[in-house]
Amino acid sequence: MTLSQKPGVPGDGSSPDSSGRPADLDRRQFLRRLAGASILAVAAGGLGAALYDPKGPAGVAGGKVLAGLGDFRAAPPPAGQPRLATVHGADRRAMFALGVKALGGMEAFVSRGDVVLLKVNAAFASPAILGATTHPDLLAAAVEACRAAGAARVVVTDNPINSPESCFEVSGLAGAARSCGATILLPRPALFSPLTLPGGRLLTDWPVLAGAFAGVTKVIALSPVKDHQRAGASMSLKNFYGLLGGRRNIFHQDINGVIAELGQLLRPTLVVLDGVSAMMANGPTGGSLADLKATNTMIFSADPVAADTLGVALLGRTPVDLPYLALAQAAGVGTMDVASLAPVTLSLDKAAG
């Protein structure tokens, strides 16, 4: 203060000078500069105060925000009503209708005004006929059923392995979605947020596709049945891998552990396991018709553990071959005791005939 005033004093004292005006100008200029400097100084101080960080940076950046992607389960049906349905046939659309009807109809899962997220498996830019991705017919059937049940919006998503645009385009999923009025949501960096599963060992501070769930009220997973060297099989639970971002492959070091945690990440409204044709070998990519076998089965349940427990038989394997089933059951994701869900088996031919 004193310092800034001092140089001004001689100017002030000499203001009634011979000419008068230059001193006036001097003073005005000085005041203007003083004001400018003060504004800048205050602004700098304010900026400093606003950004003040007394602790310094943490070792790892990123907040731990989410604890799960949500519980989207519908109200459980009355006791005794089937909660698991197996449909035999070859026409995916008709099988879907029959399976859903057996579980109480689409209205039991989707109500008027719901925003439904369909989690497909679009992992590879591979044509539908090779069975590496969710079949577009199944997607179309699901979208139409959701809309018929009054869904306000149907969104289809996955975070695939190949380039997302190619995956949805080549697999025919984009075409199916377009033609029945569902929107495809491609993963982009802004849609991922970090998540730490309570009690999770593997999914801690890990990016997940949370942005796809904004406003969503129901989630239906549509998965193909595929062979998988490391996990034994890729079905409903393994399909949730597609909700992870980052270099998620490190979880293959404990694949059963991570699949069990994937089951806790999200409680779906319904899972549909499409075993109309199963990829018996060379999974999960396939690449040849020789890898496929017509197994003519589709499984419906709200319980992914139960669905996968049944589905593994299509690959000629047993639930014991998939240690993640027991782990997921222990973690409360679902039950391997299929009989407790009052399962029904239907056949398309009989129903039609």
């Binding site: 830019a125 190949n162 998988h228 490391r230 293959h252 070091q253 690449g287 040849s288 782990l327």
Partner: protein
């Protein structure tokens, strides 16, 4: 309509077309995607590409016929392409105009005085043609069309992607694109020094047009050399630096037509005869100019064998030099690639990258595959890069040919290289950790990666038993493994019984181990060992197509534990690795 208005309309049209072609150069069927737009048409109009590849390959690839058409038209009416069509020329003209807003007419006229340095571009042209004649096509480095496509597609458009997602949802990355962007900025900035700096002094395509324009029967010029007020208003807006007020430097006129528009007394016009005030052309063939051109051409021709001495394309080639599917063998590839970046731009995986050093100096900015970057390896069902290559340096493949199906079954699938497992980095080989992501993503059926199963003792896994209850073992000392003992990957075997089948651990930790079944022979006082069940990947080189899915997805994120190198690539013909 005034001719300059027509010119501006034409320039605007071609600029918009250029931007449109850049925008839609992404794989897909949407309106803003490829869906059959002729995105290479502007590149095909380039006679320097046609001439260069003709010299280097002794053939003229069909789409490049357009370039000869443009050249033919230039023979008649001069450098209309520079003035009316070239998108880089338009950008140069716009920036030069912006930089001179409010500048006095006299100063502008001074800027547009023709100078000796305008002959430099002819020397550059001679140099590049000399290179091309000996097989090293380098025109694309400075040829304005490849240059502007490369710059905008690789350096400019990706800036609009991250977060905003203007063209792509995920950000695009290009190695070393910094230099491409900087060069583009420099070219635009130089317009502040002189209007159309690049066009006047550097552009080898302009030089080619300049040579062609010398014979043009219809040309701009003064109707009479007398009675001109010498106001030099024409020169204050001359884009070519060709002195329309005096002796016209006819090779430099790029038909901006500003002189014609500005002349207050209408003395300048199009006519079927030379300018009445006299004409000259660059370079002057009679004397020094001819020598300079010859020297430049010879230097270019010399540089090609020098590259061969370096052997960046032959035995001395980098093993990581992997070209996109359908690329010709290295020699023929370099005779065609003009570095326009179309393939880099269109690849949905974003794995095609501009080479900075991998392909040697001769291959600067030519496309190479880098499986560490991008979204995944080369997608089996994609052939986009070959479809957009304007010179067929990457052949337009069919899917059948790429996959080795149908008519191509005998030749087998196209191979880009071969994957090698680095056993010193691979988790199951080096760290005793299960993984095999590579096996999982290998898209070949049957898979090129197969596994051998082994059971390996884990560190600190020898445990004395304190008791046995059915399938539960009580331990004298607690188990401490670094992984998840209940993950299904851990097994137990009686120590000293290597022949016995290991029994899977289903739970454990602490002082108890739960097994999937009773362990025969287990009893208190005996020792068991904990084993980890590993599947160790092996590559079958006879099946591997080198797509790099495995390398891209390998969780060892730095130097991957499985890597593709160019061994066994189809394009090298007799360079096979296996007998």
């Amino acid at each position: 309509m005034r001719i300059v208005v027509a010119r501006r309309v034409s320039q605007g049209f071609f600029l918009l077309l250029f931007v449109w072609f850049c925008l839609v150069a992404t794989v897909g069927g949407g309106f803003l995607q490829l869906r059959g737009w002729p995105i290479n048409w502007l590149l095909s109009l380039d006679p320097l590409t046609a001439l260069g590849t003709m010299l280097a390959t002794h053939t003229l690839y069909a789409p490049l016929l357009w370039g000869l058409g443009v050249l033919a038209l230039t023979f008649f009416i001069g450098r209309f392409f520079c003035g009316f069509a070239c998108p880089l020329g338009t950008l140069n003209q716009m920036t030069g105009w912006l930089a001179r807003l409010g500048r006095a007419a006299k100063d502008r006229a001074e800027d547009n005085h023709p100078g000796r340095a305008q002959a430099v571009k002819y020397a550059l042209l001679a140099f590049f043609l000399g290179c091309a004649a000996l097989g090293g096509l380098q025109t694309g480095l400075l040829d304005p069309l490849p240059l502007v496509f490369r710059s905008v597609n690789l350096a400019l458009l990706p800036l609009a992607d991250p977060g905003v997602g203007v063209v792509h949802d995920a950000p695009r990355h290009y190695e070393g694109v910094w230099w491409i962007g900087l060069m583009f900025l420099a070219i635009l900035a130089l317009n502040a020094v002189r209007p159309r700096f690049f066009c006047r002094f550097i552009c080898p395509l302009g030089a080619l047009f300049g040579l062609a324009a010398r014979v043009a029967p219809w040309r701009i010029g003064k109707a009479t050399d007398k009675t001109c007020g010498d106001c030099r208003l024409c020169e204050s807006h001359c884009e070519g630096g060709c002195r329309p007020s005096g002796t016209l430097v006819v090779s430099e006129c790029l038909l901006c037509c500003n002189c014609l528009d500005r002349c207050p007394s209408g003395r300048i016009g199009f006519a079927g005869r030379a300018s009445a005030a006299g004409e000259t052309a660059l370079p002057d063939f009679s004397r020094r100019g001819a020598v300079t051109l010859l020297a430049a051409g010879a230097a270019g021709a010399m540089s090609a064998p020098l590259w061969r001495v370096e052997d960046a394309a032959g035995l001395g080639r980098s093993p990581s030099l992997i070209r996109p599917p359908g690329s010709l063998d290295e020699e023929r590839f370099l005779a065609r690639c003009i570095r326009c970046g179309q393939c880099l731009r269109v690849c949905p995986s974003n794995i095609i990258q501009p080479s900075v050093t991998t392909a040697g100096l001769i291959g600067l900015w030519t496309p190479i595959l880098n499986y560490r970057l991008g979204r995944s390896g080369c997608q089996p069902n994609c052939i986009a890069c070959g479809q957009v290559c304007p010179t067929a340096a990457i052949r337009p493949l069919t899917l059948q040919e790429k996959l080795g199906q149908g008519d191509h079954a005998a030749a087998g699938p196209l191979r880009l290289g071969t994957a090698f497992v680095d056993r010193t980095r691979c988790l199951p080989w080096a760290m005793g950790r299960p993984c095999i992501v590579c096996q999982e993503v290998c898209p070949v059926s049957p898979k090129a990666i197969f596994v051998r199963e082994v059971f390996e003792p884990v560190r600190g896994g020898r445990l004395p038993l304190a008791g046995v209850r059915g399938s539960t073992l009580a331990l004298a000392r607690p188990l401490a493994v670094s992984g998840n003992a209940a993950s299904g990957d851990y097994y137990v075997r009686l120590l000293g019984a290597p022949e016995a089948n290991p029994v899977r651990l289903v739970g454990g930790g602490g002082a108890e181990l739960a097994l999937a079944a009773a362990l025969p022979g287990a009893a208190s006082g005996r020792e068991v060992e904990v084993l980890i069940h590993l599947m160790q990947p092996h590559v079958d080189p006879a099946r591997c197509v080198g797509c790099g899915m495995c390398e891209h997805e390998c969780p060892v994120s730095g130097l991957r534990a499985i890597r593709v190198t160019s061994e066994n690539e189809s394009r090298s013909g007799p360079g096979r690795m296996l007998a």
